[in-house]
């Protein structure tokens, strides 16, 4: 041991300081970058394959694919060519999505306000868990519950609405068929989007600057005037973004809507009537017995759905990110 002390070796050269990453780092960064960009690649591939498979139908139908009401296979023996149009389904999708937002968002925002400003401490935690649990329930379960449990009640409510508000065109009923209506689908979807909207609203409300809240109280505001003057102006962007995320979820919902909505290839303004549309449900409905051409049409319909939901989500995320960054 002592010999090493007696004979000092040459000092190591000063380490060269460089900002060039080492080989291991370059490999690592390469792998991570590939992984990160693969998510973009997946999205691009989805768009490409749906367009690729649906291109024939989109080209032959043109704009009629978006506006047409008919979805008919070709009948060669009668010389009828196939026509595929998702206009009615697209309209129906928007109707149930908007109904879901109308029913669900006020409740969700109210629940978020309750959690943020009204609830006593002991009820907060269980209720947050309840909302999380709601978000984890599979859509097929909502579908079954909506069909067997909610529908009898909802039919009764629909009858009441028709009885007292029937003079308004959208509540009119040409035939007494109340089951599986857009109204019921909207209710089920509303319950499904409540957790998303509520949790995003709560996050945004939690970012309200506490000094402004205290300032409002110090000026003698009641709880409601404080919320109106401070919380809403501050968080309105987040609430709108959350509502749009909910809308995006509602537009793409498949199985739950399929069980509680009667698909009819026609545009009807009456929301209580047992006739509605949903692009996603139509795909499941027609997929089973689709021939090659109809399959292409379904791929095209899927592409339209993909673009619409992606667009809604884009806008929603832009709004939410902007609101969140303000804090």
């Amino acid at each position: 041991m002592s010999s090493t002390l007696d004979q000092p070796k040459t000092l190591p050269l000063p380490r060269e300081i460089t900002t060039v990453p080492r080989f291991s780092d370059r490999v690592f960064r390469g792998i991570v970058t590939t992984g990160g960009l693969s998510t973009l690649a997946i999205l691009a591939l989805i768009a490409f394959f749906l367009v690729f498979n649906g291109f024939e139908v989109m080209r032959s139908e043109g704009l009629r694919f978006l506006t047409g009401f008919d979805w008919m296979d070709a009948i060669p023996e009668e010389g009828i060519a196939a026509t595929y149009g998702i206009g009615a389904m697209l309209y129906g999708t928007l109707v149930i999505g908007i109904l879901a937002v109308i029913f669900g968002v006020p409740v969700a925002v109210g629940a978020a306000l309750f959690l943020s400003y009204y609830a006593p401490e002991w009820i907060k935690r269980p209720m947050v868990v309840v909302i999380d649990v709601m978000a984890a329930i599979p859509s097929v379960v909502f579908g079954l519950w909506g069909y067997f449990i909610l529908m009898p009640h909802a039919e009764y409510w629909a009858k009441l609405i028709h009885k007292y508000l029937g003079f308004i065109p959208i509540f009119d009923m040409p035939a007494p068929a109340y089951s599986r209506s857009p109204f019921i689908a909207g209710l089920v979807l509303a319950i499904m989007i409540i957790p998303i909207v509520a949790s995003i609203s709560r996050e945004v409300f939690a970012q309200t600057p506490p000094d402004r809240i205290q300032a409002a109280y110090a000026l003698g505001a009641t709880k409601w005037t404080m919320i109106k003057a401070v919380v809403f102006p501050y968080g309105i962007g987040g609430v709108i973004g959350g509502a749009m995320l909910g809308l995006g979820r509602a537009l793409g919902e498949t199985v739950a809507v399929y069980t509680v909505l009667n698909l009819v290839y026609d545009i009807r303004i009456e929301i209580l009537l047992s006739a509605g549309g949903s692009v996603a449900s139509m795909i499941v409905n027609k997929f089973g017995e689709a021939d090659a051409v109809e399959l292409q049409a379904l791929m095209a319909a899927g592409f339209v759905l993909f673009i619409v939901t992606l667009f809604v989500n884009f806008i929603a995320n832009i709004i939410i990110n902007r609101t969140a960054r303000k804090g």
Binding site: G36, F49, L144, L160, R249, F306
Partner: protein, 349 residues
Amino acid sequence: MSTLAVKPTKPWRPKVRNLAPEIFGAFFTAFATLAIVAITPLKGRLGFSFALIAMAVFTSATISWLRRDRKAALNSVSTVFVYVAAAFVIIPLSSLLFEIVRKGIGGLSWGIFTRDMSLASADSPLTEGGLLHAVVGTLYVVALATIISTPIGFLASLYIVEVKGRFAALVRFFVQAMSGIPSIVAGLFIYAVWMIGLGNSYNVMAGAGALSILMIPTVARTSEEVLKLIPNDLREAGLALGATQWRTIAMIILPAAKSGLVTSVILGIARVAGETAPLLLTIGGADALNLNPFEGNSSALPFYVWKNYSLGNPESIQRAWLGVIVLMMMVFIFFSLARYFGRTKGARR
């Protein structure tokens, strides 16, 4: 014993005398509601809740107005509505859970986990047949989806948080948007690639591919949040000791974030375990147990529920509810695991 324990007084606490209007208001609301339901044609549970809400709004607004002013009355009204909204969140969920247990618990037995449907027909009683094939199918499809999507999800979040590459903001944005992809579109995509493009037939692998498209954004977003919570000091300390970025992340950051990352995977599993629509297009469905995930039709719990619901006779509806309760138990197990791991992380801090 004889020490004089001074009981702290709370002079701000309202006395019974101050609370008298509230107590009176509560009684008045209850009686008025009962009276309305008894006298007017407003009947049933719907009529009752409607009358109750209306009376609560009316009474609380009147009391506040008489005591203070219009603003206080408005405050009371909005308070009632906020409480009603909270109740509207609780009611559907409790109804849902109650009905699932009520309808599904009857058929629950050990036997259903040991038999498949290959020897039972649609209308045979619940004592015949079972859902072994569906449980195994779900486990397979979820496990494979986890294997596919966990690396991609983690890499995406590492790219956003740690590497911060040129496209980090873009990737983050698209991952956010990706979490809104309709599940049916994921199924259609896999069908287009796997069946039409590559000419394969239905199997579990295709279902796992569809589910992982839905799972990647959940894993990526949750693990991104977890990685952001790791204090920057740790990264700087690692780099200052001369470690490369790779060693810093592998030896310091990932171990520190371990429980959070586990949570993100479990949340992803809970998200996809109940997905039905993509499986309808990809795994084909079967009544017999299929132990090979790479070949042949298979079933899964959501598929089983869907199929039995579609068959529509009383026995198969019962089977659907049975499938729902088993599915919900699985989802809840994953969900509780996620919360458990999420919590231990919080407690250690």
